[in-house]
Amino acid sequence: MPNNSIEKLPTYLEIPPIKKNSMAGKGPFKASIDIQKDLGFPGEKVDNWQQIAIDKIAETKSKYRSVQVFLDSCMKCGVCTDKCHYYLGTADPKNMPVARQDLFRSVYRRHFTFAGKYFPKLVGAKDFDEDMLDDWYNYFHQCSQCRRCAVFCPIGIDTAEISMAAREVMNVIGVGQKYPNQILGKINKIGNNLGMPEPALRDTLADLEEEIEEETGASVKLPLDIKNSEILMVTPSADFFAEPHIDGLIGYAKVFHQSGISWTLSSYASEAANFGMFIGNYDVMRQGALRIRKAALDLNVKRVVVGECGHAWRVAYSFWNTLTGLGSGGSDEYSLKLQNQLDSNYPQPQHMIEFTYDLIQRDKLSFDKSRNDHRVVTFHDSCNVARGSNMGDIENGQFILPREVIKAACNNFSDMHKSTIKSATFCCGGGGGLLTDDLIDLRIKGAMPRMHALKQSEQDNGVNTLAAICAICKSQFSKVLPNYDFDPYMIVSVHQLVSDAIILTKDSET
């Protein structure tokens, strides 16, 4: 794919005229029989798929108010049409949020509404036939579920909900996407998305400890499976091996080291990411969350902290309490046990940024900011953090806290254009289960609006460092930055900035 060609960025971010079928195709690789069966889905497309799909739609809309209300309530005002990064980057009209929803809505209307049954042409209702299914597979895998459209919809219609429901319907008829489903199989068997077993993880962490000691002279630990620690740290497994993620992990370790609070990682729940959300499956998502609950119980910790991962934080912040009763209000015996065990003085779970921010507020960390003086930093708000979570329990805390942490560690910070950050942030182009090489063309094109804003910041303010708090964003940017004539190493973890500037106590008297 065009990994060596440089994409041209327009001077102004213009809304392209529609270019029909410009992203038509077969979609990403399909999941194999084994992958599908591991998740309890049919291995291949079932014979009576249409009937099963219609039944599944009926079930989904009876279980999710979002789906039912969103299917009914769109008045086709069209203000979302220019809000999707994939539309801006590809000009394919089916990448306009409303048109993407309409793939679902037209089927809903045909099979479930009076007007669609008797006057299909009038209201744009369509049969769920093979062509429609192909469009579903192709275009619901061109949605990163970033929810930018929902921020701009006057009715609050969230395409992510529709896209999740659509993927669930497709899985149930045996048409699954390889990338997320394969990963979900690994997490269920081994505990993380990489399929990295405990000994490998232990080795990696030991190497890192050595590395940090060599570099800083401080014996910063990365503990694994230590019972009765104060904190269980759950982080995306990319933090254990991928660049630049790993420098973020080192940053967490240094912050914990300075805080004097004991912490541990878990080999059983060595993954914060939860791709169950991407495929819209409540049960799969719950399984992932239960692993973490079990780890917290087994390790007898007082707090659960989540590392830098966008959708993981949405799942943790918004869904964990619902899925597992972690925090408060759960009624099964394990959740009650956990509620007694966890320290109610802290939010459960807490984001690593919240943890570090709190220490900064209480003057517990000292920084030599000049170590980051070669950097002019900007912050990429990751969609799921920005639009689906909070930090610090203050309004807009999810925008404030990461920036405050960066500013505590860096002298030069400059935001990108305001129409491209915070709740209006542009997706990196690789979220929602699309971070796979078979979608690289889409990923490059979808990154365009973000790259455009970054280019402006580079030109206007000399920005040379892009900080993020999401494993997917970091991987995606490393890959696509060169396509837009940027240095691929300009993407860093926020905790890498912390790591570089933090002043460590060398005698480990803590």
């Binding site: 279980k63 009914d72 049409t81 009038l122 921020v151 009715i155 609050g156 080999s267 309490n321």
Partner: protein
């Protein structure tokens, strides 16, 4: 009564019947469908008063639409506001018995017809001339605008071009519908062209995109408090599922350290 009067009288009750039963059905359906997960969209309020304020801003000011597209907001908001004002203007016809003073002073509201037509033409123009909006428009989307345009235009012709039908007949007909004391309606074509699309729109309200009216109040992205960490949010079906599946936390216990 003339057959045309009988037809329109039936048409009215038929439409209102569909409106009430259909809308009740949809509202009960929305009400009874659980929202299993917390999905408020940023900027999400952290408190209940915050949610009420958010919904009020959406319903009365179309705050998000303003953020998204200034032109669409101008057309859409003036159109909806005009509809509300014109609704009040028409109450006087339907009010049974002695008319409250306030309704007798609603005459100036007739000028709301201008922003109504302005908004409609804007929305129609957008649908026709913006390629993206044209792409997503079904025939029904145009038809809806045209019907309301027809209502507005016929109303304006009667009001501003001195083509008033017999107002006494209008009053008797409208009041008669409410009091079940039916009487003849004025049979001028312009008047019939005014009320037929009104009755039709009332009828299709619960089976069309007009459901965005009740829909906005049930939209989980807008009506949820962002407090998932503090307060457990769980749906009935998820709770049932939780009770029915035994979780064996004992397995792999040895891995704990």
């Amino acid at each position: 009564m003339s057959s045309i009067s009988i037809f329109f009288t039936f048409f009215f009750y038929f439409s209102v019947l569909i409106f009430i039963t259909g809308l009740s059905y949809k509202i009960v359906q929305y009400w009874n469908t659980p929202a299993p997960l917390k999905i408020p969209i940023a900027p999400a309020p952290l408190t209940k008063p915050g949610v009420l304020l958010r919904l009020a801003k959406e319903v009365f000011l179309f705050a998000t639409l303003f953020k998204s597209s200034k032109w669409t907001w101008l057309f859409g908001w003036s159109f909806h506001l005009a509809l509300v004002l014109l609704f009040f203007r028409h109450l006087v016809y339907f009010w049974p018995g002695e008319i409250p003073l306030i309704l007798l002073k609603t005459e100036p509201l007739k000028y709301a017809a201008y922003p109504l037509i302005f908004g409609l033409l804007g929305l129609l123009g957008r649908r026709i001339f913006v390629d993206r909006v044209r792409y997503i428009s079904a025939p029904s989307d145009y038809l809806m605008l045209l019907l309301i345009f027809l209502i507005g235009a016929s109303g304006m012709v009667m009001t501003f071009a001195n083509n008033h039908p017999n107002m006494l007949l209008v009053k008797n007909f409208a009041e008669g519908l409410i009091t079940f004391n039916w009487s003849e309606l004025p049979s001028e074509v312009i008047f019939l062209a005014h009320i037929a699309p009104v009755f039709f729109l009332i009828a299709i309200f619960p089976i069309s995109k007009l459901l965005h009216g009740p829909g906005i109040f049930f939209s989980p992205t807008l009506n949820q408090v962002d407090n998932a960490r503090k307060k457990r949010h769980i749906s009935k079906w998820a709770m049932q599922k939780e009770k029915n599946t035994k979780i064996d936390l004992e397995q792999n216990q040895d891995e704990g350290g």
